[in-house]
Symmetry: C2
Subunit: 330 residues, 2 copies
Amino acid sequence: MKNSVNKFLSLYNSEKVKVEKVLAISLRKRNPESLYKPGEYIIAGGGKRLRPLLVLLSAMAVSDKKIKPYYASAAVELLHNFTLVHDDIMDNADIRRGRPTLHKMYSLDTAILVGDSLLSVAYEYLLKDCNGNAKEVLKAFTQGLVEVCEGQSMDKDFELKQKVSIEEYLLMIEKKTAAMAEMCCKIGAYLGGGTEVEVKALSKFGKNIGIAFQIQDDLLDISADEKEFGKIVGGDLMEGKKTYLFLKALSKAKGEDNKLLEKVTERKGIKQNQIKKYKLLYQKLGVLEDSRDEIINYTKKALFSLKVLKNEDDREMFTWLANSLIKRNK
Amino acid sequence: MKNSVNKFLSLYNSEKVKVEKVLAISLRKRNPESLYKPGEYIIAGGGKRLRPLLVLLSAMAVSDKKIKPYYASAAVELLHNFTLVHDDIMDNADIRRGRPTLHKMYSLDTAILVGDSLLSVAYEYLLKDCNGNAKEVLKAFTQGLVEVCEGQSMDKDFELKQKVSIEEYLLMIEKKTAAMAEMCCKIGAYLGGGTEVEVKALSKFGKNIGIAFQIQDDLLDISADEKEFGKIVGGDLMEGKKTYLFLKALSKAKGEDNKLLEKVTERKGIKQNQIKKYKLLYQKLGVLEDSRDEIINYTKKALFSLKVLKNEDDREMFTWLANSLIKRNK
C-alpha cells in the first residue's frame, strides 16, 4: 500500500505541474493588460488544484488513462478562481493564500471585471476540449455555475437569518461546494467518453466528496494546528459563521450552553479570547466527533458509488485522494 | 414602402412580446429568492430588446422563417443585463431605465452575485436551443463575453489615459458594443442552420451595425432633444467621457479650441452650464456631421454584407432595422 500511495502522490504532483502550465498560459499575451495581469495575479496565487485533478482522474478512469483534458482542467480552476475573487469582495476578505485579495491589491471595479473575465476564459478553455458531446459538457459546467451562485446567495442569507437548520446548511454546501466537485467529475467523465453509468457514478462521487470536504473545512477551522493551518483557528466563530459544527452544537445544546451559542449569532461573532471556551463546549457536546462521523459517512458514500469502475487501480487512486482530503490539516 | 415599414414594425413588436414572455419565466420559480428576485427586477426594467431581435431575425433569414430560437434570444438579453448590472457598479450609476440601479436598490454584494447569476442562466438558456452545432454557438457566445470584458476594461483604462486615439476608441467599441451585436447575429445564423457564407455575412452585419449604434449613442448624447432623450443632454461631456465626437473634435481642434477640449480631460468633466459652449465648438469643428457620416458608412457596410441573403424581404427587414437605429432619438 505504501508504494501505491507514493505512486498516487507522484501522479498528483506530476499532473499538477501540467495543469499549472496550462493555467499559466491561459491569460498570457492577452490584452488589455489591465484585465489580464490581475487575472494572472490571482491564478499565480496557487492552491491545491483539486478541481482540475478531479476532471483529469475522472477522464482517465473511464478512458483507460488515454484521455487527459487539460484545457477543461484549467477551465474548472478558472471558474473556481472567478468565485473566489467575487466571494472575497462579498466577504470583505483582505487576504487570500497569504497575499492581498484582488480587490485589495487592485480595486473593487477591477476585481468585479477580472472575475467576469476569468469566467469567460473558463468557457473558452472548456470548449477547446469539447467535441461531439459539447452540449452535455457545457450543460454540466453551466449547471455547476448556476448552483455556485445560488449557494453563495444562500450563504449570504444565512448571515442574516436567526435560525438555520442543518438541512438548509447541507443544501447550501451542496450548491456552493459540492456542485462544483460533482461538475468536475461529470465533465471529466463525459470528456473521457464514459458511459452514462460511469458519468453518474463519478458525479455522485464528486458530490459526496464535496460535502465531506466542506464539513472537513468547518471541522479544521476549530480543530487544526495553528502553525500548519496558516489561518487563525476559530475564525468561523469569530465571524459568527453558521458552520456544520455550530449548527450541530446548537441543535444539541440545552440551557446555558444554548444561550452561549445563540450569543454568537446575536453578536455576529465572538472575540478571539473566547474561542477556547467555545471549543470546550463543542467537545463537551461531541460535535467534533459528529463532524468526523459525517465526513466519514459522505466519504464512504462517495467511494461506494465508484464500484462500477472497472479498473481497481482507478478505485484505489480515488480512495487515496478521498483519504488525503480527510486527513489534510489545512 | 410604407406598408412594408408597418409590417416590419409589427413583426418587431410581436416578436418583442414573445421574447418578453421567455425572459419573464427565465428567473421565475427559482431559489433562493435573494438571488432571483433582484434578477427579475433588472429584467423587468425593459429596454429595446434589440439583441434578441438580432438573434431571431438572423435565424429566420437563413431558415426561410422556420426557426425562431427564443431561448437563445433570451440568453443574449440576460448576458446584456449581466454587463449592465456590473457596469453600473463600476460607473457608479444610480439610475438605469428610470429606476434605481441594482446595487442602489439592493446592495453591492447582491449586484455582483446577481450579475453572475444572470450570466449563468444565459448559458443555461442558450443551451436549450443548441443541438448539433452546440460547440460553434457556445464558442461564438463565449467569444462575445470575452470581448465585452476586454472592451469594458479598455473603457475604464481610457478614463485614466490622457491620450486616446480614434483607432483605440474604435477597437474599444468593437469589443464593448459591436462584438455583442456580432455574436447575436452569428448565433442566430448558426441556430437557423445557415451556411458558412451566411454566418459570416450576418456576423459582419452585426459588427458594423454595432459600431454604428455606438457612434449614434455618442452623437445622441449631445444632439438629442432633452424631452425625448430621457437623460441630460451632454452627460458624456459632464463625465469627461472620451466619445467618438470628443476624440474627433480633439483631433481637429487647434489653439484655444484644443485647450478648451483638453480641459474636459484634465478636469474629468465639465459643469452642466458649459455644455452649450462645447456643443457650439463641436458644431464649429463639424464633428456632428463627421459622426453622422461615420454612422452612415458603417450602416452601409453592414447592409452591403447582406447581399448574400436570398430573400429580398429579409434584406428589407434588416434595412428597416438599420434605418430605425440611425433615426432613433433615444
